[in-house]
């Protein structure tokens, strides 16, 4: 299907301060890609990241789980979409969203033999471009949990690796009852930038897994991760683990950070033991949340967005007071960053794909809320200002550099 989007050439202006240094060091325009429950929007920033041109909605009414720009060409966009009625698909644009074409073969599980109950993809949840050298290669994580690969820029997709059919992994994935409310998800598909046969994946639920042989075999990577207390769960069993988001540090590919159902963790390879760094967060805030954002150049710097994970798991900002927390020393200490954010009675939160960083110096941070607000900071979190309000529930936010 070829699609022509609605376009609004409007301008909006985010408030807040910008340092002269930021403007001086800005080289390329940043585009912020916003995927929502009812469509997608692109926000094109000016050189100072102060004013934003709106392009959207694209796919109005579609549930868009992820919208990603190919960093290898700075022009190609992939959108993972479905509607309430229709099955899942992937749309592709090679002109930064001016025109779209549907994938000829979207991610789909293999047809089950007669008499067996096969799985069907409900939605593609996570899109990840391959390494810089692997032109046209993309990976997709789906719900229910599956891993897929495209080698033609997202036009056709095939099941990838042994994940989809491995009996042990399938057992750890469990059923719809074991996953997130809108379906279990395979996410955080990470390719080692140094080695195209080295992968990390995360399963909600089902733990973290690593392959060093191109996906032929997988090894669990859950040592050090805690499981919910009081239920007698065995922490050595992947089925009890729910990684929310894992990120690899671009400046040090041997370091990963994870926002987990049970805390914030860091892993420094070759160790296989995660270290809980969230225990240094303020007790009244805790270290439960979904997104995890790594600094593009400093492996000691990360940002998280804590939520209320107490009692019945309200999954709102703790006390209705939203804040980003940052560490600059690998998790030894954390700093609250809430200047510009609502001081009280703000009960939204941020989903796992809905917070990100650009590559500008100083780093721009962006997050989208469950209440449809898009926020940004031009100074690494010290001051926040809204870019957009009144959008549908935001599922994913990516910041990319346009070529």
């Amino acid at each position: 299907m070829a699609v022509k989007p609605n376009k609004q050439k409007l301008a909006t202006r985010a408030q807040g301060s910008t340092s002269r240094g930021a403007r001086a060091r800005q080289r390329s325009p940043v585009v912020v890609l916003v995927a929502t429950r009812k469509g997608a929007w692109l926000y094109h920033g000016d050189a100072a990241r102060k004013s934003w041109r709106i392009d959207g909605p694209h796919f109005l009414g579609h549930v868009v789980s992820h919208l990603v720009l190919d960093p290898r060409d700075g022009r190609t966009l992939l959108a993972a979409a479905k509607t309430g009625h229709l099955g899942p698909t992937v749309f592709r644009s090679t002109d930064l969203g001016k025109t779209w074409k549907e994938a000829a073969k979207p991610p789909a599980f293999a047809k089950a033999p007669d008499g067996e109950q096969g799985r069907s993809v409900d939605h593609t949840f996570w899109l990840a471009p391959g390494r810089a050298a692997d032109t046209g290669v993309w990976y997709a994580g789906t719900s229910p949990q599956g891993l897929f690969r495209s080698s033609d820029g997202g036009a056709t997709w095939e099941p990838f690796s042994t994940v989809n059919d491995d009996p042990q992994l399938r057992e750890w994935m469990g059923t719809a009852q074991d996953g997130t409310p809108d379906g279990p998800k395979l996410h955080s598909v990470i390719v080692d930038p140094r080695d195209s046969s080295h992968f990390y994946i995360a399963m909600s639920g089902g733990g973290v897994h690593e392959s060093v042989d191109g996906g032929r075999t997988w090894k669990t990577l859950i040592k050090g991760l805690e499981v919910p207390e009081g239920f007698g769960f065995d922490a050595s069993k992947p089925t009890f683990h729910d990684p929310h988001c894992i990120r690899l540090c671009p400046s040090n590919p041997d370091r990963l950070y994870q926002q987990n159902h049970c805390g914030i963790y860091r892993l420094d390879r070759p160790s296989d033991t995660w270290v809980r760094i969230g225990k240094n967060m303020p007790k009244r805030v805790g270290d439960i949340g979904f997104p995890m954002v790594v600094h593009p150049r400093d492996a000691d710097a990360v940002w998280v967005f804590p939520m209320d994970g107490t009692s019945v798991w309200p999954r709102t900002s703790p006390d209705g007071r939203p804040a980003v927390y940052a560490t600059r020393n690998g998790g030894k200490s954390w700093q609250r960053l809430d200047a510009g954010l609502p001081a009280k009675q703000a009960w939204w939160t941020v989903k796992r794909q809905a917070m990100t960083a650009d590559a500008v110096d100083p780093v721009g941070l962006y997050f989208g809320t469950t209440s449809g607000e898009l926020w940004m900071s031009r100074d690494e979190g010290r001051r926040w200002a809204p870019i957009a309000q009144h959008l549908p529930e935001i599922y994913a936010v990516e910041a990319a550099t346009v070529s």
């Binding site: 299907m1 699609v3 229709l86 789909a108 599980f109 089950a112 096969g118």
Partner: protein, 85 residues
């Protein structure tokens, strides 16, 4: 035969009514997909199941099996069945 297309799928057909041929519902949907690539997968999953919020009626009766035989004069109506906000 005549196939009525719901609004959610008209981005494929650009019209509310399409013509398709086939001796079974499966064959008609395959023919429809050859004319409008991608339309079948939005209605039928990879296990050949009609998707949860899609209903297909043949001459007013709901079809539940893709192997259902069809005649050239039959009318196929595809309906999007979903409510909520």
């Amino acid at each position: 035969m005549k196939v009525l297309i719901p609004s959610a799928l008209r981005s494929y057909t650009d019209k509310s009514e399409a013509e398709a041929q086939g001796a079974t519902l499966a064959a008609v949907l395959a023919n429809l997909d050859s004319q409008y690539p991608g339309i079948r997968f939005r209605m039928i999953d990879e296990q050949d199941r009609i998707r949860r919020h899609i209903r297909i009626f043949v001459n007013g009766d709901q079809a539940r099996d893709l192997s259902q035989p069809l005649a050239a004069a039959d009318e196929v109506i595809i309906v999007q069945a979903l409510s909520g906000g």
